[in-house]
Symmetry: C2
Subunit: 363 residues, 2 copies
């Protein structure tokens, strides 16, 4: 007998009430696309309420023609639809020990949506990027004061930069998600979608694009959303986070679920990577000592997670086990067993231990 649990109600889990940091109920996984009302929300400052009529996107800096575009201007440009898996760089932070500062995300700071908008490269092409340009800074309307002692610059806006090559590749300026206009929490009227990158690059409530020949050094670029990386034989440097890592997650059983002993249970989940495609998922039911191959349900699609399933023969006796999943991608990268301390509270892609309780067979 094979049992499986059905998706759960899809309400968002509140990790922080204000500003809203809301986690997707990952155990409600069903289709490949996450329903709009279940897409996680990450906010750094209170969500701005922008007026669709008066709002403008300004593009300046090292361009031939600075632009000021209304929402109507953008909607009149060629529209593109891109499905993209987006993961917060701190997804899974609750599994870190010792505890790291920041929102204590479990499994649900990740999701996949279909975004519609214009390509950033089309907007840049309209303005004409000048020779020598290096990056595009994306700044949002969301702003506030940092409370880090001694580091208060007054009011700052959320902003990140992208290398010009990425900006001229596949970055979308989205005005719709899953066929609906963006909600306020998701960045109305316009946000970036940066395929393959962690969510911090997907600046919401976009108001300013600035093309620059100087590396951008905003707080969310160099201090927050950076990690320690060794290079050139020097001591580690703080390097901005960019692409997502290869990672598999178990949606069901959910952590601390009870499943029947001595039966076959269908374990399901998703797996994604920031570059290329996921090619393999494995599951362990003995805390990572042995691994068995899972079946990939979805065909490969760059930038979009693949669902997978695994028929788990549960132990004969009641008790507790630790399930894990790990993925490998087309670049041959796989998940390492531990967390590199240099990553701090970010890029958590060791196989997360999911505790599952086995109950005796029902009569």
């Amino acid at each position: 007998m094979t049992t499986s649990s059905t998706p759960r109600p899809a309400a968002l889990i509140v990790r922080q009430a204000s500003p809203p940091n809301l986690e997707s109920p990952f155990s409600s996984l069903d289709g490949r696309i996450t329903p709009g009302e279940s897409v996680y929300v990450r906010s750094h400052f209170p969500a701005p309420e922008l007026n669709a009529e008066s709002w403008r996107l300004r593009l300046g800096g090292q361009v031939d023609t600075p632009l000021e575009l209304s929402l109507s201007d953008l909607r009149a440009m060629p529209a593109h639809t891109v499905a993209a898996t987006m993961e917060c760089a701190g997804n899974g932070r609750v599994y870190l020990s010792p505890r790291m500062p920041g929102v204590q995300w479990d499994l649900g700071a990740v999701g996949t949506a279909e975004w519609m908008g214009v390509l950033l490269r089309d907007v840049l092409g309209q303005a004409g990027v000048q020779a020598g340009a290096l990056e595009v800074v994306l700044e949002g309307a969301d702003c506030g004061t940092l409370t880090d002692p001694g580091r208060t610059p007054g009011n700052i806006h959320y902003a990140r930069s992208l290398p010009l090559a990425k900006a001229q590749d596949d970055v979308l300026l989205a005005y719709a998600m899953n066929g609906q206009p963006l909600t306020r929490d998701h960045g109305f009227p316009l946000r970036a979608v940066v395929p393959g990158w962690f969510g911090m690059a997907a600046v919401k409530w976009l108001t300013t694009l600035h093309v620059t020949d100087t590396p951008y050094q905003g707080f969310f670029q160099t201090v927050d959303y950076s990690f320690w990386q060794s290079r050139d034989g020097l001591s580690p440097q703080m390097v901005p986070l960019t692409t997502m890592l290869v990672k598999a997650q178990i949606a069901r059983p959910a952590p601390h679920d009870c499943v029947p002993a001595a039966s076959v249970f269908e374990v399901v989940g998703t797996a994604w990577t920031g570059q290329g495609d996921v090619t393999r998922v494995e599951v362990s039911s003995d805390s990572g000592q042995t691994w068995a191959e899972a079946e990939l349900v979805d065909p490969p699609q760059t930038g979009v997670w693949r669902r997978w399933r695994f028929e788990w023969q549960t132990p004969q006796q009641p008790g507790t086990v630790t399930l894990m999943a790990r993925a490998t991608d087309s670049a041959g990268r796989t998940q390492e067993s531990g967390h590199d301390v240099g990553r701090g509270g970010y890029m958590i892609n060791f196989p997360l231990p999911i505790t599952v309780h086995l109950r005796g067979q029902e009569a």
Copy 2:
């Protein structure tokens, strides 16, 4: 009758015992060059004890010929002597309100010494800098672990970078200070001296020079020793500290000194700037409401402070006054009256209020 106070004993003031952060007794100002035993000491990690025989300076990265130089090799190269005023970027921090984190320096995290060594440009020339190089990273032997929560990368070394243009200009790799080999606290056997820049650039216990085409992003470059600067109409960014600002300081009277009322007291001090020369010093004895011209004692010498004096007609009655000094440089820059919050605990160059008590005339 003109009175003046004599220089005080020159013992260093302990601001932090371990690692040693020792302040120069600024009120002991006498000659233009600070005696070696009075030069301030700034340490981030315990002072390494390096062996002069086995120590090597390694130069690598974007060069034609990587080098490994002994102290003898360096001493065999053309020697240069450079007098330079060096100020810690946090000098004067004790005057900030609210209090800022970091060593609570009063007036003495500044001094002027005569350094002897080789020009960094000569070493770079020997190695051959390749086209496309952007910066030179200077790394010291001093190392330790940062305790910033969630940001622990394990052991890191102190390091800073210099733009190639500065590195190929007047930067000295010094093995002697005021005619004596460097002491351990001052970076034995080799340290950088970066004329015009705040002291954080003058990396001590030098072991590694790395020529790179990538902006360096070490902790002491992008997080510590950086400040908030607005540019391009974007929200402030964290920009590495570089050149010293124009600044005058009063050496005598020292803070909270008693001086005779109804007399002429010779106020003395120094003034410096990171670019060009100091051209003017003014003194106020009414908390900055009115200013009177001071006399510059030393001739201009780029990179070296100028001593100044001012004959102060003290008030007729006993009481308390606030003395201030402010400087202007050859670029027309002068000291502003307040501290820009974006500077955090750095670049403190508002005219510091020196409280002085007036005592009645002695019989």
